[in-house]
Symmetry: C2
Subunit: 140 residues, 2 copies
């Protein structure tokens, strides 16, 4: 399996024009084993155990690289910083994956269905917040 992981990583790199470095490979393999939604710091802490000399900046750069290549993904497409909204109508968001612009879309125009109020794990639903990811008119 070591071999399989290695090979698939080399393939991913070739497909995306990414150089295969030791740091990158360890980073990839460590991340593969992580579940949930770790922060760069958490990933860094784990990778550091295997490659003590690695720099946090390297972790950041390669996480970005993996995300851009579609190997892994970001949990949120939104701006990193706080944004408020005053729109009090029920609505959702269209997020442009190129320019990152966020536009409101009314609940009705979106037209989703469903409405369970209890989900697996005993999660009690308050509301749904939908991000429609795509390309805005300007960026097409």
């Amino acid at each position: 399996m070591q071999v399989d992981l290695t090979r698939s990583f080399r393939e991913i790199c070739r497909e995306n024009g990414i150089a295969v470095t030791h740091q990158r490979q360890v980073l990839y393999e460590v991340m593969k084993t992580m579940h949930g939604h770790p922060s760069p710091e958490e990933v860094y802490a784990r990778v550091k155990k295997k490659v003590p000399a690695i720099s946090l900046a390297t972790v950041y750069k390669n996480i970005h690289l993996f995300v851009e290549s579609g190997v892994f993904s970001k949990v949120s497409m939104h701006h990193g910083s706080l944004r408020v909204e005053m729109n009090d109508e029920a609505h959702h968001h269209m997020v442009c994956s190129k320019c990152k612009a966020i536009t409101d879309i009314g609940e009705k125009e979106l037209g989703l269905v469903s409405k369970k109020d209890k989900l697996p794990g005993g999660f009690l639903v308050e509301r749904y917040a939908v991000d429609v990811i795509g390309i805005c008119a300007k960026c097409q």
Copy 2:
């Protein structure tokens, strides 16, 4: 209308146990007129025109206060910092509004419908990312 705004703001404050200060009132009124998804800095810039001595920290504190009281809302319920995920199955997220924990939920378990691929404004849909906001089992 000045009067109406003022009165409704006093009511909101009374309902939420918030003291009515000049800064807060101006902040509220300015934010009411802002559309889109402004950052605290953008709000600060506008409020500063009316209350030049206001501090950015005051803007931050009161935005948080308004958000906690449900007067306005945050665009994203997620952590402020970058999070990655390695889960490559189609899934969405359950976000606990108390502890902010994010849990994955499979596309099928969630069971939403809809599937327009063109939305108002000529937005071209790539995919939907749903956040189910609610209370996790632990926090109930």
